[in-house]
Protein backbone atom coordinates (compact mmCIF):
# COMPACT_ATOMS: atom_id res chain seq x y z
CA UNK A 1 0.00 0.00 0.00
CA UNK A 2 2.80 2.41 0.74
CA UNK A 3 4.26 1.74 -2.66
CA UNK A 4 0.87 2.53 -4.26
CA UNK A 5 0.70 5.82 -2.48
CA UNK A 6 4.15 6.77 -3.53
CA UNK A 7 3.30 5.84 -7.13
CA UNK A 8 0.23 8.00 -6.95
CA UNK A 9 2.24 10.89 -5.65
CA UNK A 10 4.78 10.58 -8.39
CA UNK A 11 2.07 10.47 -11.05
CA UNK A 12 0.52 13.51 -9.71
CA UNK A 13 3.76 15.38 -9.50
CA UNK A 14 4.59 14.56 -13.06
CA UNK A 15 1.22 15.66 -14.35
CA UNK A 16 1.25 19.20 -12.88
CA UNK A 17 4.61 20.39 -11.73
CA UNK A 18 3.65 24.11 -11.88
CA UNK A 19 0.80 23.73 -9.37
CA UNK A 20 3.06 22.44 -6.69
CA UNK A 21 1.80 24.15 -3.61
CA UNK A 22 -1.86 25.09 -3.62
CA UNK A 23 -3.26 22.90 -6.29
CA UNK A 24 -1.41 19.84 -5.16
CA UNK A 25 -3.56 19.05 -2.17
CA UNK A 26 -6.67 19.38 -4.22
CA UNK A 27 -5.41 17.14 -6.86
CA UNK A 28 -4.49 14.52 -4.28
CA UNK A 29 -7.86 14.67 -2.75
CA UNK A 30 -9.39 14.44 -6.21
CA UNK A 31 -7.38 11.40 -7.13
CA UNK A 32 -7.97 9.79 -3.75
CA UNK A 33 -11.65 10.38 -4.25
CA UNK A 34 -11.53 8.88 -7.69
CA UNK A 35 -9.78 5.83 -6.34
CA UNK A 36 -12.00 5.53 -3.30
CA UNK A 37 -9.29 6.18 -0.81
CA UNK A 38 -10.43 7.56 2.49
CA UNK A 39 -7.96 8.85 5.06
CA UNK A 40 -9.26 7.25 8.28
CA UNK A 41 -9.79 3.95 6.57
CA UNK A 42 -6.31 4.10 5.13
CA UNK A 43 -4.94 4.94 8.55
CA UNK A 44 -6.83 2.08 10.12
CA UNK A 45 -5.57 -0.27 7.47
CA UNK A 46 -2.05 0.96 8.08
CA UNK A 47 -2.44 0.40 11.81
CA UNK A 48 -3.93 -3.02 11.21
CA UNK A 49 -1.16 -3.88 8.84
CA UNK A 50 1.44 -2.72 11.37
CA UNK A 51 -0.20 -4.74 14.08
CA UNK A 52 -0.36 -7.80 11.88
CA UNK A 53 3.21 -7.27 10.72
CA UNK A 54 4.34 -6.84 14.31
CA UNK A 55 2.49 -9.93 15.43
CA UNK A 56 3.84 -11.90 12.53
CA UNK A 57 7.34 -10.67 13.17
CA UNK A 58 7.03 -11.22 16.92
CA UNK A 59 5.36 -14.57 17.08
CA UNK A 60 6.11 -16.22 13.75
CA UNK A 61 9.03 -14.73 11.93
CA UNK A 62 11.23 -14.20 14.97
CA UNK A 63 10.86 -17.73 16.44
CA UNK A 64 11.26 -19.19 12.99
CA UNK A 65 14.37 -17.12 12.48
CA UNK A 66 15.60 -18.07 15.92
CA UNK A 67 14.98 -21.70 15.14
CA UNK A 68 16.67 -21.32 11.78
CA UNK A 69 19.57 -19.55 13.39
CA UNK A 70 19.78 -22.21 16.08
CA UNK A 71 19.66 -24.95 13.50
CA UNK A 72 22.22 -23.16 11.38
CA UNK A 73 24.45 -22.92 14.43
CA UNK A 74 23.84 -26.56 15.20
CA UNK A 75 24.57 -27.47 11.62
CA UNK A 76 27.69 -25.33 11.66
CA UNK A 77 28.72 -26.89 14.96
CA UNK A 78 27.97 -30.30 13.54
CA UNK A 79 29.93 -29.52 10.43
CA UNK A 80 32.74 -28.13 12.55
CA UNK A 81 32.58 -31.21 14.77
CA UNK A 82 32.53 -33.38 11.69
CA UNK A 83 35.54 -31.51 10.35
CA UNK A 84 37.30 -31.93 13.66
CA UNK A 85 36.35 -35.56 13.76
CA UNK A 86 37.52 -35.95 10.21
CA UNK A 87 40.80 -34.28 11.11
CA UNK A 88 41.07 -36.42 14.21
CA UNK A 89 40.18 -39.46 12.17
CA UNK A 90 42.83 -38.55 9.65
CA UNK A 91 45.31 -37.99 12.44
CA UNK A 92 44.30 -41.27 14.05
CA UNK A 93 44.49 -42.96 10.68
CA UNK A 94 47.95 -41.52 10.12
CA UNK A 95 48.97 -42.49 13.63
CA UNK A 96 47.60 -45.98 13.20
CA UNK A 97 49.30 -46.21 9.80
CA UNK A 98 52.57 -45.13 11.38
CA UNK A 99 52.07 -47.58 14.22
CA UNK A 100 51.23 -50.31 11.76
CA UNK A 101 54.30 -49.50 9.70
CA UNK A 102 56.40 -49.44 12.87
CA UNK A 103 54.84 -52.70 13.98
CA UNK A 104 55.50 -54.16 10.56
CA UNK A 105 59.11 -53.03 10.73
CA UNK A 106 59.46 -54.42 14.24
CA UNK A 107 57.71 -57.58 13.20
CA UNK A 108 60.03 -57.98 10.26
CA UNK A 109 62.99 -57.35 12.54
CA UNK A 110 61.68 -59.91 14.99
CA UNK A 111 61.10 -62.38 12.20
CA UNK A 112 64.59 -61.75 10.85
CA UNK A 113 66.09 -62.17 14.32
CA UNK A 114 64.03 -65.28 14.90
CA UNK A 115 65.12 -66.69 11.56
CA UNK A 116 68.71 -65.79 12.37
CA UNK A 117 68.43 -67.37 15.82
CA UNK A 118 66.75 -70.43 14.37
CA UNK A 119 69.46 -70.72 11.75
CA UNK A 120 72.19 -70.35 14.35
CA UNK A 121 70.46 -72.84 16.62
CA UNK A 122 70.03 -75.25 13.75
CA UNK A 123 73.68 -74.90 12.77
CA UNK A 124 74.72 -75.38 16.39
CA UNK A 125 72.51 -78.43 16.70
CA UNK A 126 73.89 -79.83 13.47
CA UNK A 127 77.44 -79.15 14.62
CA UNK A 128 76.77 -80.81 17.95
CA UNK A 129 75.14 -83.74 16.22
CA UNK A 130 78.13 -84.07 13.93
CA UNK A 131 80.52 -83.86 16.88
CA UNK A 132 78.52 -86.42 18.81
CA UNK A 133 78.35 -88.73 15.84
CA UNK A 134 82.09 -88.30 15.29
CA UNK A 135 82.71 -89.04 18.95
CA UNK A 136 80.48 -92.09 18.76
CA UNK A 137 82.23 -93.24 15.61
CA UNK A 138 85.59 -92.69 17.26
CA UNK A 139 84.52 -94.62 20.33
CA UNK A 140 83.12 -97.38 18.18
CA UNK A 141 86.33 -97.52 16.18
CA UNK A 142 88.38 -97.59 19.36
CA UNK A 143 86.20 -100.33 20.77
CA UNK A 144 86.45 -102.29 17.54
CA UNK A 145 90.21 -101.80 17.46
CA UNK A 146 90.51 -102.88 21.08
CA UNK A 147 88.33 -105.88 20.44
CA UNK A 148 90.39 -106.73 17.40
CA UNK A 149 93.63 -106.38 19.35
CA UNK A 150 92.16 -108.47 22.14
CA UNK A 151 91.06 -111.17 19.70
CA UNK A 152 94.44 -111.13 18.00
CA UNK A 153 96.21 -111.36 21.33
CA UNK A 154 93.97 -114.21 22.42
CA UNK A 155 94.47 -115.97 19.11
CA UNK A 156 98.21 -115.39 19.30
CA UNK A 157 98.32 -116.71 22.84
CA UNK A 158 96.22 -119.71 21.95
CA UNK A 159 98.33 -120.44 18.89
CA UNK A 160 101.52 -120.06 20.93
CA UNK A 161 100.09 -122.33 23.60
CA UNK A 162 99.17 -124.92 21.00
CA UNK A 163 102.57 -124.65 19.34
CA UNK A 164 104.38 -124.95 22.65
CA UNK A 165 102.22 -127.84 23.78
CA UNK A 166 102.67 -129.63 20.49
CA UNK A 167 106.40 -129.00 20.51
CA UNK A 168 106.64 -130.24 24.08
CA UNK A 169 104.79 -133.42 23.22
CA UNK A 170 106.81 -134.00 20.10
CA UNK A 171 110.12 -133.32 21.76
CA UNK A 172 109.27 -135.30 24.88
CA UNK A 173 108.36 -138.26 22.70
CA UNK A 174 110.98 -138.06 20.00
CA UNK A 175 114.15 -136.98 21.81
CA UNK A 176 116.47 -139.87 22.56
CA UNK A 177 118.58 -140.18 25.72
CA UNK A 178 121.69 -139.47 23.70
CA UNK A 179 120.20 -136.26 22.33
CA UNK A 180 119.10 -135.21 25.80
CA UNK A 181 122.58 -135.90 27.18
CA UNK A 182 124.17 -133.81 24.44
CA UNK A 183 121.68 -131.05 25.04
CA UNK A 184 122.44 -131.21 28.77
CA UNK A 185 126.16 -130.82 28.08
CA UNK A 186 125.59 -127.81 25.87
CA UNK A 187 123.23 -126.36 28.53
CA UNK A 188 125.91 -126.86 31.20
CA UNK A 189 128.41 -125.01 29.03
CA UNK A 190 125.91 -122.24 28.52
CA UNK A 191 125.24 -121.95 32.26
CA UNK A 192 128.92 -122.03 33.04
CA UNK A 193 129.51 -119.08 30.72
CA UNK A 194 126.65 -116.96 32.02
Amino acid sequence: MTSSLLLLAQVTAAAAPEHASSGFTGQVQQIAGQFGIKGPLLLAQIVNFAIVAFLLWRFAFKPVMATITERQEKIAAGLKYAEEMKAKLNAAQQSSDAQIREAQVKGQQLIAEAQKSAKAFLEKQQQEAVEQSNALIGKARSAIELEKQKMLAEARTEIARLVVATTQRVLAKDLSDFERARYNESAAKELSNV
Binding site: R156, T157, I159, A160, R161, V163, V164, T167, Q168, L171, A172, L175, D177, E179, R180, A181, Y183, N184, E185, A187, A188, E190, L191, S192, V194
Partner: protein, 131 residues
Protein backbone atom coordinates in the same frame (compact mmCIF):
# COMPACT_ATOMS: atom_id res chain seq x y z
CA UNK B 1 108.75 -109.83 68.37
CA UNK B 2 109.10 -110.66 72.03
CA UNK B 3 112.28 -110.27 74.06
CA UNK B 4 112.68 -114.07 74.29
CA UNK B 5 112.46 -114.40 70.54
CA UNK B 6 115.03 -111.63 70.03
CA UNK B 7 117.40 -113.35 72.45
CA UNK B 8 116.88 -116.67 70.68
CA UNK B 9 117.60 -115.07 67.31
CA UNK B 10 120.76 -113.46 68.64
CA UNK B 11 122.01 -116.72 70.13
CA UNK B 12 121.20 -118.62 66.93
CA UNK B 13 123.19 -116.09 64.87
CA UNK B 14 126.15 -116.38 67.20
CA UNK B 15 126.06 -120.16 67.01
CA UNK B 16 125.73 -119.99 63.23
CA UNK B 17 128.78 -117.73 62.92
CA UNK B 18 130.71 -120.17 65.06
CA UNK B 19 129.60 -122.97 62.74
CA UNK B 20 131.41 -121.45 59.75
CA UNK B 21 134.95 -122.35 58.81
CA UNK B 22 136.60 -120.36 56.04
CA UNK B 23 133.18 -119.05 55.06
CA UNK B 24 131.71 -122.52 54.70
CA UNK B 25 129.52 -124.53 57.01
CA UNK B 26 131.61 -127.14 58.85
CA UNK B 27 129.81 -130.27 60.10
CA UNK B 28 132.09 -130.58 63.13
CA UNK B 29 131.36 -127.06 64.21
CA UNK B 30 127.63 -127.62 63.75
CA UNK B 31 127.90 -130.71 65.96
CA UNK B 32 129.78 -128.67 68.53
CA UNK B 33 127.15 -125.93 68.46
CA UNK B 34 124.39 -128.47 69.03
CA UNK B 35 126.35 -130.02 71.87
CA UNK B 36 126.77 -126.61 73.42
CA UNK B 37 123.07 -126.06 73.26
CA UNK B 38 122.44 -129.44 74.85
CA UNK B 39 124.78 -128.70 77.70
CA UNK B 40 123.78 -125.07 78.20
CA UNK B 41 120.11 -125.00 77.57
CA UNK B 42 118.81 -121.45 76.98
CA UNK B 43 115.50 -120.17 78.28
CA UNK B 44 113.66 -121.25 75.12
CA UNK B 45 115.78 -123.88 73.36
CA UNK B 46 113.12 -124.64 70.74
CA UNK B 47 113.15 -121.08 69.40
CA UNK B 48 116.96 -121.09 69.28
CA UNK B 49 117.06 -124.42 67.46
CA UNK B 50 114.49 -123.31 64.92
CA UNK B 51 116.36 -120.08 64.19
CA UNK B 52 119.65 -121.95 63.98
CA UNK B 53 118.12 -124.54 61.65
CA UNK B 54 116.74 -121.79 59.39
CA UNK B 55 120.15 -120.09 59.16
CA UNK B 56 121.87 -123.42 58.45
CA UNK B 57 119.28 -124.29 55.80
CA UNK B 58 119.80 -120.93 54.10
CA UNK B 59 123.53 -121.38 54.14
CA UNK B 60 123.22 -124.92 52.79
CA UNK B 61 120.93 -123.65 50.05
CA UNK B 62 123.44 -120.92 49.24
CA UNK B 63 126.24 -123.45 49.07
CA UNK B 64 124.30 -126.06 47.11
CA UNK B 65 123.36 -125.96 43.44
CA UNK B 66 120.28 -128.06 42.70
CA UNK B 67 120.61 -129.15 39.09
CA UNK B 68 117.31 -130.29 37.60
CA UNK B 69 117.74 -132.25 34.42
CA UNK B 70 115.81 -134.28 31.86
CA UNK B 71 117.65 -137.29 30.60
CA UNK B 72 121.00 -138.42 31.84
CA UNK B 73 123.68 -136.08 33.08
CA UNK B 74 127.32 -136.97 33.48
CA UNK B 75 129.20 -136.48 36.76
CA UNK B 76 131.77 -134.43 34.90
CA UNK B 77 129.04 -132.03 33.88
CA UNK B 78 127.91 -131.70 37.51
CA UNK B 79 131.48 -131.11 38.66
CA UNK B 80 132.05 -128.54 35.98
CA UNK B 81 128.84 -126.72 37.05
CA UNK B 82 129.90 -126.82 40.69
CA UNK B 83 133.26 -125.36 39.77
CA UNK B 84 131.85 -122.56 37.66
CA UNK B 85 129.24 -121.58 40.29
CA UNK B 86 131.87 -121.73 43.05
CA UNK B 87 134.00 -119.34 41.06
CA UNK B 88 131.02 -117.10 40.39
CA UNK B 89 129.82 -116.90 44.02
CA UNK B 90 133.32 -117.03 45.54
CA UNK B 91 132.38 -119.85 47.87
CA UNK B 92 132.39 -123.63 47.59
CA UNK B 93 129.19 -124.86 46.00
CA UNK B 94 128.23 -128.47 45.54
CA UNK B 95 125.99 -129.62 42.72
CA UNK B 96 123.11 -132.03 43.36
CA UNK B 97 121.27 -133.64 40.44
CA UNK B 98 117.49 -133.94 40.51
CA UNK B 99 115.63 -135.50 37.60
CA UNK B 100 112.79 -133.45 36.12
CA UNK B 101 111.32 -134.90 32.91
CA UNK B 102 109.14 -131.82 32.48
CA UNK B 103 112.20 -129.96 31.26
CA UNK B 104 112.20 -132.23 28.12
CA UNK B 105 115.91 -131.60 27.75
CA UNK B 106 118.43 -129.25 29.33
CA UNK B 107 119.16 -128.01 32.86
CA UNK B 108 117.68 -125.77 35.50
CA UNK B 109 120.06 -124.77 38.31
CA UNK B 110 118.93 -123.19 41.59
CA UNK B 111 121.51 -121.61 43.88
CA UNK B 112 119.82 -120.08 46.89
CA UNK B 113 117.29 -117.68 45.48
CA UNK B 114 118.98 -117.52 42.07
CA UNK B 115 117.59 -119.59 39.20
CA UNK B 116 119.41 -120.40 35.95
CA UNK B 117 117.49 -121.97 33.11
CA UNK B 118 118.83 -123.68 30.03
CA UNK B 119 116.11 -126.14 29.12
CA UNK B 120 113.77 -126.72 26.22
CA UNK B 121 110.77 -126.29 28.51
CA UNK B 122 112.11 -122.95 29.67
CA UNK B 123 112.76 -121.80 26.15
CA UNK B 124 109.28 -122.86 25.09
CA UNK B 125 107.79 -121.01 28.07
CA UNK B 126 109.78 -117.92 27.17
CA UNK B 127 108.60 -118.25 23.59
CA UNK B 128 104.97 -118.55 24.71
CA UNK B 129 105.35 -115.54 26.98
CA UNK B 130 107.01 -113.51 24.22
CA UNK B 131 104.33 -114.31 21.64
Amino acid sequence: MSAQSKKAQLLARQLFKLSLENGALAPERVTGALAYLEQHRPANPLLVLRAYQRLVAIELARSAAVVEHAGSIADTVLQSLAGSFSARYHRPITATAVANPALIAGLRVRVGDDLYEASIAGQLAALAAAV
